[in-house]
């Protein structure tokens, strides 16, 4: 491909589709979906006034914070550092989309899962710490320390769950190893291929299901939705690490938080469920399949959020170790041996 054309495509993918503009819109729609679903579960209306069935409410909130509200400075705050933190987080998440088949131009290399972990797991977490500590406050410090304690068990769980299908896919010699793109386009073979014998097929299915469940628990904890929202517990920590944000900085922080939800669900939809597989992207069936898988995962995340109360920090860590970290590591070891 011509270098100028490649750069043009990359910029288009990064800034327009599926990059900054599109993923921002998708993130706000996902926020609406989660809020509305949880509200219906709790016999509330949820967002209702802006747009049909309140679908534009998160957009209205975002643009009001962005354009109308002013941010309140504080004696110890550093707004520029906060914006750099949130910008790096949003940038890393958006750049990570270039590894997925959804993007018009996608980059791949052997073992590019390391880049995926760097962009989608490591940087968002570091940027969360940067944003929080740019506006210091005792509630913020307590919230961040809880977020770090949770991350110690959450991040290895998410990495192990994502590595499981990639490790199993090594049985096909024609696939580039540990590549996000090739895993996304080939993982559907694991769900249906009985060519390696029925016992092997059943073991693969069990491993994939364990990986799916543990990754959903890890996502729930990483995006700090109930029951793992203790780092931003309203009743005791005001809003945890988000206590001091206001105006435009709060708008970007909310966008960053919604992006984490939207992109991590998208990543699981592709890496574990194969995206639009068994159809192609540019077909109506493919688009509908992708949408159905995405909405199903977003619904499960909302369901868990609506069904549980908040865990204490030690309960949260113990539960993640017991129900997500240990199963995912055992499944990863088995997938290496298989």
């Amino acid at each position: 491909m011509d270098i100028a054309l490649a750069i043009g495509y990359t910029l288009f993918s990064l800034l327009i589709f599926p990059g900054f503009i599109t993923i921002s819109a998708i993130s706000l729609l996902v926020e609406w979906f989660v809020r509305k679903t949880v509200a219906r579960m709790q016999n509330r209306m949820g967002p209702a006034y802006v747009g049909p069935i309140g679908i534009l409410q998160p957009f209205a909130d975002f643009f009001k914070l962005l354009l109308v509200k002013r941010y309140i400075d504080q004696r110890y705050s550093n707004p520029l550092l906060a914006v750099v933190g949130v910008g790096v987080g949003i940038g890393a998440l958006t750049a990570g989309l270039l590894l997925f088949p959804l993007s018009p131009i996608r980059f791949s290399s052997p073992y590019d899962v390391i880049v995926f972990i760097y962009l989608m797991i490591l940087w968002p977490f570091i940027s969360l710490i940067i944003i929080s500590l740019a506006w210091p406050n005792p509630f913020v410090v307590a919230g961040v320390s809880r977020a770090i304690a949770l991350a110690i068990v959450t991040e290895p769980t998410l990495v192990a769950s994502i590595l499981i299908p990639m490790t199993i896919l090594k049985r096909y010699p024609d696939i580039t190893p540990y590549s996000v793109y090739y895993t996304s386009t080939n993982v559907w073979r694991l769900w249906i291929d009985t060519g390696f014998g029925i016992p092997q097929y059943i073991a693969t299915l069990i491993l994939l299901i364990v990986s799916l469940i543990t990754s959903i628990i890890a996502i729930q904890s990483k995006i700090m939705l109930k029951p793992f929202d203790i780092p931003e517990a309203e009743q005791e920590l005001i809003a945890g690490y988000a206590t001091e944000f206001s105006g435009l900085i709060y708008a970007f922080y909310r966008l960053f938080h919604d992006m984490k939800i939207a992109i991590l669900i998208l990543a699981i939809t592709y890496i574990l469920l194969g995206g639009p597989a068994p159809f192609k992207h540019l077909s109506i069936e493919g688009f509908l399949t992708l949408l159905a898988k995405y909405i199903a995962l977003a619904f499960i995340v909302s369901l868990v959020r609506g069904a549980f109360g908040r865990f204490r920090i030690d309960q949260a860590i113990t539960k993640i170790i017991k129900y997500a970290l240990i199963p995912s590591i055992i499944a990863l070891i088995i997938s290496f041996i298989m």
Partner: protein, 123 residues
């Protein structure tokens, strides 16, 4: 027209870092263009929010981040810690030898298994 570009991992790392930097520049540009700061003459507007308390309350003792972090981890790993302490520090040398030989035995079995796997499967 979709296309997939295969790169070596270092180029991919560079491109993804540049892409991150580009989006960061866009976010910074939006901040520069739109940021409106609250100007206030009152000192209260610049104080941090501590549940309505005055800042002097922070001179009272409150747990450091390290203390919070280790308290949480200690509470979670208390069972493991207690198990280790109770099986190692009983005061009897025999208990210690039993414990250590158990773990060395486990590691030995693991090593033998790995060597066997290496010989059979040629990893």
């Amino acid at each position: 027209m979709a296309s997939t570009i295969s790169l070596n991992p270092i180029d991919l790392m560079l491109i993804s870092s540049l892409s991150t930097g580009l989006v960061l520049a866009v976010v910074l540009a939006i901040f520069r263009a739109l940021a409106k700061k609250e100007m206030s003459s009152s000192e209260d507007a610049f104080a941090m929010y501590i549940g309505g308390e005055h800042e002097s309350i922070l001179t009272l003792k409150y747990p450091t981040t390290d203390a919070l972090y280790w308290a949480v981890l200690k509470r979670v790993f208390r069972n493991v810690y207690r198990y280790l302490v109770e099986s190692l520090h009983t005061g009897s040398v025999l208990d210690w030898v039993k414990y250590m030989s158990m773990w060395y035995g486990f590691l030995m079995i693991l090593a033998i298994l790995i060597v066997m796997m290496y010989m059979v499967m040629g990893w």
